[in-house]
């Protein structure tokens, strides 16, 4: 399969208290189209750094990042990348509807239909005119996802989007995310530190170690494409979780 995003020997250093630290070190991997790729690792392993590099709001210290065969900056300029940050970061002065319209406004596109379709998709139909401070945490995160999807980016980056939500809501949103991904044929890069979450939603998982951030290993998830809640209790699922756990434990050595 042709790679959509390619990291080639990428390092990124940063300074903290004037001390040079290695954020991620010599990382190479591919992201394939129409797949969900999870990046799993302990906090501080550079997962977020990787997303920021893809968003092109950080430049690598060393190495190259490609979108197909072009530099990654092309992808941002063409609006091919969507980001769902860890916190929903909604505009407090805009309603749900107006928040989701924002990316279209910036591109000077009028497409009310797309906005309403997405509001439907994330299940916020009755909350269109609500302001962020009137929504619960899970609802805010749905708005954030709808906003990232509204301009139909080829690649969706998600930075621990469900980390602050409770378990059941997280599982429901996992399910919804998979449904959306299948329907819109999205490529998703999903950062998480939750093993079960990674196992449930991913086609592939990259496990990282910390300080410096390096890739410990990669897992191909061989679960059925039709993921549903029953899967969480199945033997195969436990197998995958176990496999991930073993790899992740190595990251801490």
């Amino acid at each position: 399969m042709e790679s959509l995003i390619t990291f080639k020997d990428v390092s990124r250093n940063y300074y903290e208290n004037k001390k040079l630290l290695v954020g991620i070190d010599d990382i190479s991997f591919e992201v394939y189209p129409y797949q969900i790729l999870s990046i799993l690792g302990p906090s501080g392993c550079g997962k977020t750094t990787i997303l920021r590099l893809i968003c092109n709001i950080l430049e690598p210290t060393k190495g190259d990042i490609f979108y197909q065969d072009k530099n990654i900056s092309y992808a941002r300029k063409k609006g091919l990348i969507g980001l769902v940050p860890q916190e929903p970061t909604l505009l407090p002065h805009r309603t749900v509807e107006a928040n989701i319209t924002l990316p279209l406004e910036i591109r000077k596109i009028k497409n009310k239909e797309a906005v309403h379709r997405l509001i439907d998709l994330v299940g916020l139909k009755e909350f269109e005119k609500f302001y962020p401070h009137q929504l619960s945490g899970g609802m805010k995160q749905r708005v954030s996802i709808a906003r990232a999807l509204v301009y139909e980016p080829k690649v969706l980056l998600m930075d621990e989007p469900f980390a602050s939500l409770d378990e059941i809501i997280r599982e429901n949103l996992n399910m919804e995310l998979i449904n959306i991904q299948r329907r819109l044929k999205q490529t998703i890069i999903f950062v998480t530190h939750n093993i079960e979450e990674a196992a449930f939603i991913s086609d592939r998982i990259i496990v990282m170690s910390t300080r410096p951030g390096r890739i410990t290993g990669e897992i191909k998830v061989d679960l059925s494409q039709d993921r549903n809640q029953e899967l969480r209790n199945s033997q195969e699922f436990f197998q995958v979780v176990k496999q991930i756990r073993q790899l992740l434990e190595k990251s801490y050595d």
Binding site: T89, R94, P103, H133, G137
Partner: protein, 263 residues
Amino acid sequence: MIKKIVTSILIFIILLVVWQIAEDRVNVHRLENNQTALGAFIPAPLTIVKTFSNDWQNISRELGHTLKKAGLGFVIGVVFAILIASIFLFLPFIRNLVFPLAFAINSFPIVGFAPAIVLIFGQGSFVSIVFISVLICYFPTLISMDTAFRETDKSLLELMEVLNASKWQTLFKIQLPLAMPYLFLSMKLAIPASIIGATIGEWLGARNGIGQLITIALYQLKPGLLYASLISITIVSTLSILVLSTTQYFLFPWKRGGKNEKG
């Protein structure tokens, strides 16, 4: 809410009544001893009310003149401050150069600085009075807009960057709307300031305005008129702030209600 308002009005009325009775008593005493009535220095509430009804046309006309100048000064001051704050945002090196100067100008005592301006633009001239008003009211707006711009949520700015938004789009869609509550707060400070500025300008010699009326009242020993002038200014300031607060309530529904109502 209504209970609060009623209470404060009641306290106010009680104060006035006590004032009136006290002054009447003291006056009886002073006149018996062949002293000047206290009313020559501090008018009693009823005297002020009487002055208001007698000199209403006079006061309202002069108040109109002052408000024209103060209003213009306020608008120029606020617009100017927003522009400067926006320039600071886009060109931080200018901010570093200009901000100390803005602070310095603000720390000039206005009663000393006002004559300097009068010297430049002419005594009692419309321009000099508006200028003094601008000078005294731009600062709160500049400070609060600058603070609002600098404290804009970094993650929102990053979001705009990811969405490939231009600097203008970020300004108009994020920074300005989020700064609006700050702007309204500063305008509430700037309204009385602009009226004070205009009054000081007139006070230094003008053909009309409340400032001039105060001077006349002082020289003609009419404390009733003096107090009535001051009170008329207070009423206008308070009403303007009330209008602003109401506008703010309807303009920013997203600021209504507590942030932590839902988890």
